[in-house]
Symmetry: C2
Subunit: 396 residues, 2 copies
Amino acid sequence: MDYIISNRMKDVSGSMIRELFKLAKDPAMIKFGGGNPSEEAFPVKEIAEISERAFKEQAVGMLQYGLSEGYTPLRDTLKKRLSEEGIDFEKNDILIVSGAQQAADLSSKVLLNEGDGVIAEDPSFVGCLNTFRAYGAKLYGIPLKEDGMDLEVLEKTLEENRNIRLMYIIPSFQNPTGFTTTLEKRRAILDLAKKYDIIIFEDNPYGELRFKGEDVKTIKSMDEDSRVIYAGSFSKVMAPAFRVGFMVLPKPLMQKMTVAKQTTDVHTTVLFQHICNEYMTSYDYASHIKRVRELYKHKAELMVSSMEKYFHPDVKFSYPDGGLFVMAFLPEGMDSQVFVKKGIDNLVACVPQVAFAVDQSKTYSGFRMNYSSESDENIVKGVRILGQMTYDALKK
Amino acid sequence: MDYIISNRMKDVSGSMIRELFKLAKDPAMIKFGGGNPSEEAFPVKEIAEISERAFKEQAVGMLQYGLSEGYTPLRDTLKKRLSEEGIDFEKNDILIVSGAQQAADLSSKVLLNEGDGVIAEDPSFVGCLNTFRAYGAKLYGIPLKEDGMDLEVLEKTLEENRNIRLMYIIPSFQNPTGFTTTLEKRRAILDLAKKYDIIIFEDNPYGELRFKGEDVKTIKSMDEDSRVIYAGSFSKVMAPAFRVGFMVLPKPLMQKMTVAKQTTDVHTTVLFQHICNEYMTSYDYASHIKRVRELYKHKAELMVSSMEKYFHPDVKFSYPDGGLFVMAFLPEGMDSQVFVKKGIDNLVACVPQVAFAVDQSKTYSGFRMNYSSESDENIVKGVRILGQMTYDALKK
């Protein structure tokens, strides 16, 4: 039988990272390629404790069908916390989703027609780029600088493409670059969204993982005319396998988004919503976050200082202020995909920039390195191996 | 700000059942309206036990990112069990989904273009009808009889509408009618699917809940040319809030469906997949299923025998062989929506057929009654109240 694949999915292929991982199965491989949070960061004891108590005291509530909008106590806690960060819940509401990836899926379902344009930082998180592609959206990549998108290219793109409906942005500790958009640029981006009447999808999975510098206000907190959809996640502060995230939505979008959620997976698992809520309200959540930040600060410093020591000086990178990633750039014109493949041969896995590119037919010089998954020893060892490779590559 | 809703979602509204529930909030309300499994059916002790052990012995595996395809031990167990029911895993594969609802979502995403036709039994499960609507599919309802769809109308519809790509069917203990499609009709439906080269989506959430009569082979087990997608669920045999279901897919569809899963919610929660697997492999799962069947048999018998006793003889219904529902039909021409609203005034909630109809602009005479959620006492009491109402309605 011949299967006809929908137009929207025909050209969407899996994440290149997964293909790389198949090459990288050797247990001796040093893993800078993934995006997994550190296993040391999971509050295992507390999770087990809350779970045990929940099954003892309110099993039925944890097991029976839940509300599509989400578990009410968690929604209330999030509203309280996010209000303190300046988000206005007179004008907004909270929808719990099965991981922030679902926030992109539901937003696309509700807001995008096939052929509609979506602005994305370039490079950007491939998971969400593929979500937009899976709804037949046309992606417009805007070069991402250390301080945020290139505003000139952004405005020109908006001006020339009136089919653009949505802008996808990870303003803090971006994946894959680790870059953080400055407050000035966030304001300018919001102004442009207003001028061209588009919606901003602000994805902030790493927001709580700042280990350097000062917090920068979220775009959502400056959103006066309700054009920002904000997505947060418990994957990096609790556990990814919980699949619990949340969307802050302008109230007029709440009903349609909830219907979209209903038709997609009915509701998010109740136990894990309960654990997130309990941990935030009855435990010392602040200390936990502090501990996770210190862990990542240590690992990031170790990786970046090793890169300073071992990498050829023509390879550029910058110290991230938070999150899980640092991106290194070979001199312009060099293809990092060749470099990454050689790295895998040498038992160090990174991800080439092309995996995160809007246009995957070009070549790029960057490669993403993750510092949250490996031991200190392997961080130093892996960077040393890559460093030797940079000298080899730049000698030729 | 004006929000432009996508064409595909513009006309999809929430399930009417939810709206009814808002009316039905009175704690004294007798709840025949929902589709919740009985809380007595949850294996709470075992779930708590497996969960506790998992967090003790393999916490990281339960908390870290999992595979989009699903938890390998669960996939293997399901393959083994379903092979015994005649499904061929040389030609098929298993994708774990976040509840069977997601099976419909992913199938639509991968297989349907806007405007493509989808055949559905009429009435049918509104959750999945809305999923197809949410991808811009055009629904064609085929009247459902006690032994399955009207084959004449089915063939005529297929003949006249060459845009039809998919057929959605719940062959066993259908929601909302409780009807089971006979083996002969299953064969005929598969033959028609072959003749018109369409895909069958066989939804079987209640398959294990047979409490009367003999098992009928699944359509998937007769699927020689790999045109059947089969969806199963743990919602009714373990717990709905697990959000764990599975799809049996022809192998050529596995890769695209997995990509669609990735872009939707990355993967299904690992702990609940592990609990389902542990319970099936290390506990007496067969006894559990037997106990659940006995519970539902008792409740179904109580409801139907009470209906025989209290309902006006012109109201028709049939004893289901399994599942959670029985549907009663007022004499043709009567609008069950009026009847159901009156029921809510009298503190008994049911769901009118129109909520499950492909064409919701017409009036229908049926109403769905659920027997799994209420106490024995309330089942008798609620049926007695509705019975009195049937006499009142038919007197006029």
